[in-house]
Subunit: 163 residues, 6 copies
């Protein structure tokens, strides 16, 4: 880790840091989101029907997250555009109140892809919110964080006790 | 609140619900985000320099959040495009480890604007992450939620004890 | 119907025609697409498994079509941006070789919404193609056309014999 | 050709397949569209005037198609963003009722570019529709298909009898 | 004219000012751009050929400008999204060295549309640059300014001597 | 310099020229904009307050310019999408009436990046206009031009006397 802000120049103005001299490497990053939906909404996802509502809600959220990954450079002002080699998002029911989202992103570029993973996880969570908000608006995103990234100058793995 | 999912039809397929028959009203919504940055990063924002790093970091995050509000319909698949009359985002240092973000959005339309407020707050938080990530990647978004919305069929206000 | 091109001025230059003097009315339009997939791909959608591949393929295509409807003004150069009140897309297996797509769009504006319906149907078809192309690339979109539109100066309904 | 769907994982959820291990190669693809305009509209393009309407209509459609090629990753949810090295679109009057569109796209990447070619051809056709719709709405896109692609694991060429 | 900055709040942070209380009116604005191309490029536009290069260069620039008008809210951070009722862009050869561009935009909204007109004129000029840059890179945009706007609290017309 | 237009084919139709055979090189380009604001607006930026309005106005303009650089391929129809390795924008008060903007862009690609630099400079200028227009609408962009580019087939440097 550096001891300075990457996207601010000496005059305290924002800039998009020049990564021309960095070399290209295969990189990936995984972000995690945890979201409170409440028992009522979760029960709609567990009901023993042939087709529950879980299908369209989670699939819409996964698709939205994948598309958000590709648009990260357009949403976060200082993010470099990066080639996106793959995106894998899963959404699981964690307990009777919560879902958990994992978003893994793969690239081959000059700078890390953690913002893409975090952006994908957060948009998937917001899309679940949008699909369920007619039932309740007490939903809360409880956590969005980086689990790990590899392939850059230094890898990062959240320690077990921090998870 | 209804007892069903708004964007799913009878065959369990996603659809963008038809709001043609709803009337137009002035509406607003406010979302809240709380984010752990850690003492090291927060200290950079508090240092008694003429110009601290807080300026460019928070301003970039506010601008990114305002732009994200306007793009919510493009990011959340079932969101209706809505006229955006105004956006007001503030970011405050809450304590020596955390910042808090408020995002208020104003519209005049046929459906609520809560997704826009939540999206603006989450993108502001992610932008702070991006601007600070060279210092530490242990930052965590700890909470994103709706504080209140007014102007629709039913208003919503988070109760004090839930805040 | 007029006897002239709407988006070309007297000097033969493209222009976005000024609709300021037109009044706002509720409008809708429905477009239709028919696509050859072939027996092999269709058989994957009919197999008597608990979960067939039809679910994720058709849902991804429906979501892509809904989002495309909202972006029509950005893709078709002379299209006016219009408020989108609702979008309803269905995809059916028509026979052992073909699927059929219906895309209905609802607005309240000064100009017709047929381009949005046609754009949504075509992007849904292309998304099915993308999801199935590892199986075969002999897929062909056989037809994209307007079925009907209402709410403008003159309604339009495809006659039965033309369907 | 594979015997499976590329963008669906084992749990039947959509995913953007990881192409990290594939090698980069020069690739191109050409798509074809055929569209019924009818004698009246076609006659406007053939009239022996110094400047016919054909110019602005076809040029607007070509420009729209080129821009659509570049946006394919944003419109088709599972498409990888690819560098676009070149786009060549031509529109010809095929007979007194029809036009034909060819869209060729060139890239250098890890995955094929056929969706870009198909998307470009379809948006060019829709733009012609938009420019001519004040004259008639009986226009029909009669065919959109892939003519050939080269540079990937296996080339594809539509056989003559299928053309 | 006010004596303050519209998009900055009391704490000197950017905000998108709330126009909810303003009433909707028909508005238009016209912007002007003047660009030096030089004798060589201009001569290509004047040559007495049946089809000169002027056609595709100016038409591409007009189409790009029209599309830019529609995207102004996405490019200028504090701009409100506005309905666009019409756009009219003309490009003329002013003398043997220069072209002049006029961009007129029509809306019906709560706030002025001058940024849309200025944005359309500037993107048309940049597109001419892009189309001609293989011939010379000495082109210079010499002026972009607002000519007039009507329909708001106060009209604005550039005085003759200032033109 | 060539003696022809790069994006026009033999039939005078626009095309996006195929750069497949060109080799990749490190490239950069710098554009310059000069803008008349007038004494009143400039005085707001010079006032001896702890925090002047200059901060949020210039920072918003810099951020808008950086984001515009990344979107050049979407705004200028024939521009190839290019990887953006870095963007550096500075805005200075030139005299009591004017500001000057420099926009430098870095890439590693098959074609030049001058349009990105020119686009970034022009959007920064337009954003300053938007932030100040409540004070006066007599602002004028007086000049946008390329200062230099390196890394392509031939470098370009504006000669001193032309500056």
């Amino acid at each position: 880790m550096s001891d300075s802000f990457s996207h601010i120049d000496k005059k305290n103005q924002p800039k998009m840091v020049n990564v021309s001299e960095k070399s290209i490497s295969k990189r990936n990053a995984t972000a995690f989101a945890r979201m409170f939906l409440g028992k009522e909404i979760i029960s709609h996802f567990r009901m023993d029907e042939l087709k529950t509502k879980k299908g369209p809600v989670f699939q819409t959220a996964i698709i939205a997250g994948i598309q958000a990954v590709k648009k990260t450079w357009d949403v976060i002002p200082m993010c470099h555009p990066l080639p996106i080699n793959g995106v894998d998002i899963s959404i699981e029911i964690a307990d009777e109140d919560h879902i958990e989202i994992l978003c893994s992103v793969f690239t081959e570029g000059k700078t890390g892809i953690e913002m893409e993973a975090l952006h994908g996880a957060s948009v998937s969570a917001l899309t679940v919110y949008d699909m369920c908000k007619a039932l309740s608006q007490k939903m809360v995103i409880k956590e969005i964080k980086l689990l790990n990234k590899t392939g850059g100058k230094s890898d990062y793995h959240l320690k077990a006790k921090e998870k």
